[in-house]
Amino acid sequence: MTLKTKKGMLSAIAVCAAIVLTATGCSSPANDGGTSPAPGGEAPAGSNEITIGVLATAEGNLAFGMDEAKAAIGVAMAAYGGDVDGAMIGDTKVNLVYEGTDGTSATAQTKAKKLVENTGVDVMFGPVSGDEGETIVQYALTVPDVTFVNGSASPVSMTLEGAENFFRFHGDSAMWMGGLGDYAFKDKGYKKIYSIAEDYSFPYDNAGGFFSEFCAAGGEVNGNSWVPVGTTDYATIIAQIPADTDAVYVGLGGADAASFLAQAVTAGINKPLVGGSIAVDTTALSGDSNIAAAAVGTITGGPVPGADFSTPTWDTFVADYAKQPNAFPSPSIFAVLYYNSFAPLLQAIEASKGDLSDNQAALRAALSATDWASPTGQITMDANRQAIVDNFLTEVVEGDGGALTTKNINEATGVKQGTVVYQRFDGCPGS
């Protein structure tokens, strides 16, 4: 037996704490998610051929992203008699090559380079997450002869970087709050709102979008709490909410949102809540915790309509989506955004007859000219190749059997991107 000192133990503990941090804080290393065949194939002589490289998450906490991307692409390709591997769009043969990522910017960069530089794709489609998106835009600036169509990444800055070859067919995270600020002030009559949000880029944009509209309407922010991601005890934050507050803005997501909502019940918050785009999504609502008293009545905004939404194009999309392999009971935000982005790409390929000459000028002109009645409303493009879209305001309600679900309360049409990339703010954004 060797004698050990506590000093030695302490250094061992320090080493182990580092191991814990590494093990719990970092995702597993990436490997090749996609096993799709190489592009090319047997193209009929004399016709055009376009290869599209698809990036989607196949590992990590958004591992279902690839299934959702393929379901969305499957629906769009089925309209042309094709499938997730390819289709004839007019005289143009379209091939698809898939690469899986783990949601980190490093992997997204590696996989995008592989698709562009090794596989030689003509068009890039994706990625899923915001961090990946910011990296892909930077990469797009270095390969101007490839056209990039965004998947579901939503940072505001992406279409303000001046990448002439980058297109986004859905709103950014500030636009996802479009219409909610006006609704909260005018329809709900909230004059003073207290803001609780996580301290990173997505809530800056998301809350920035809400409060810039709310403040412009005449509303007032009577306090901001920017909390670290991973905060579990909100008792002290809740205690800071001033008594004269009309409502509380909850810019939290995932576990943090669930923690907050549960404690809002035990602490007896009697203020109505306004949710950020991921505060009262299915992750928070489907859990088995006692949040109904706080969550019911929460209003929020986002690109996906409430459960009771029904239009012919939406219903058709949902029905077609349900036929895809590995589909969820209803399309997730990723399936909706990937479909709304991929369908215009196919339409542009059809309109430009697959002409990729002159740095893909005809294809890009057709993408910019998009004016399409998507399942979630009309989509047109602005000068920055950023979509002008409809946005949905929903409210959390108690459904059959007491399960929480969302109800459509309003639709903001023609929501345009602002020019502000939001940073952390006190009071109203920019004040």
Partner: protein, 286 residues
């Protein structure tokens, strides 16, 4: 002033949960010199077991007891099968328990899913009570503070007033000399591993009543209990209590003063204590 008292009370009730988790860890650390990185996993597993029992029986106390017993027994099995053989090799034990933690976390993710669950608590007790100087305060947080104080006192009595406790204290000071006096330290080690794991499981039910249970909480609680044990000193129950109170208060005060730096300041506390008193506040240098 009212807010200061309120934040203090929040810090103390948060400390109650940290203390319950860390007291088990400090026993295992102090006596066995074993770094169990599966302690957070025991916390989360205890929470989930308690959640299932309470859902099926509607009895919170039964859930807490069942979870403590089940996680304690599991801890004992893990100790006997995986750790006992390599007990003198710190790094190997750390890696074994890290492996157990990773496997356990994934199994729990597969079984209970990634969404939030919470241990149910009688609705009649989910009320606010009037605390002098603070106003309305959630009864559940006060009850958890009470439970924690009772557990702390019982543990102290057990360690300080019983024969088994004196063996444990002797083991903390010098396990080789204790063994040389004829004490079967292997049995003591097994019992301590059972007790430490059971405390983590119990803490999981208490914590899971106040905060949601989710994948990832295991890592968070492991980290915080490591900080509490390092600040308070290894093997000391009063040390764990002092460490938990310091960590709880510091994290809540900084949430008010500088929320962005709440986590940084909590870990800075550990750095300061290590720099001034490397053995921890109540720890004894050997």
């Amino acid at each position: 002033m009212e807010q200061f008292l309120l934040v203090t009370l929040n810090g103390l009730t948060l400390a109650a949960v940290y203390f319950l988790v860390a007291s088990g860890l400090t026993l295992i650390f102090g006596l066995m010199r074993v770094i169990t990185l599966a302690h957070g996993t025991s916390y989360l597993l205890g929470g989930y077991i308690g959640y299932v029992i309470v859902r099926e029986t509607g009895n919170w106390a039964l859930g807490a007891l069942g979870a403590a017993l089940a996680v304690g027994l599991l801890g004992l099995v893990i100790h006997q099968l995986l750790i006992r053989k390599f007990q003198d090799d710190d790094m190997r034990v750390a890696l074994i328990t890290l492996g157990v933690a990773l496997i356990g976390t994934d199994l729990m993710l597969a079984t209970f899913g990634g969404t939030a669950t919470q241990v149910a608590f009688p609705a009649a007790l989910q009320i606010g009570v009037n605390v002098p100087g603070v106003g309305q305060y959630p009864l559940i947080r006060l009850m958890i503070l009470g439970i924690s104080i009772v557990v702390g006192i019982l543990l102290s009595l057990f360690i300080n007033r019983t024969r088994f406790g004196s063996i444990v204290r002797a083991g903390v000071d010098d396990s080789q000399m204790t063994a040389a006096t004829g004490v079967n330290v292997r049995i003591v080690f097994g019992a301590i591993f059972f007790l430490g794991s059971a405390l983590a499981g119990f803490a999981g039910v208490v914590g899971g009543t106040l905060f949601p249970l989710l994948p990832g909480q295991d890592g968070t609680y492991l980290l915080f209990s490591l900080v509490v044990v390092i600040v308070g000193g290894m093997g000391s129950i009063p040390g764990a209590a002092i460490g938990a109170v310091l960590v709880g208060l510091v994290s809540q005060y900084t949430l008010v003063i500088a929320p962005t730096y709440a986590l940084v300041v909590t870990f800075a506390l550990m750095v300061v204590v290590l720099a001034i008193r490397p053995q921890g506040i109540m720890g004894r240098a050997v």
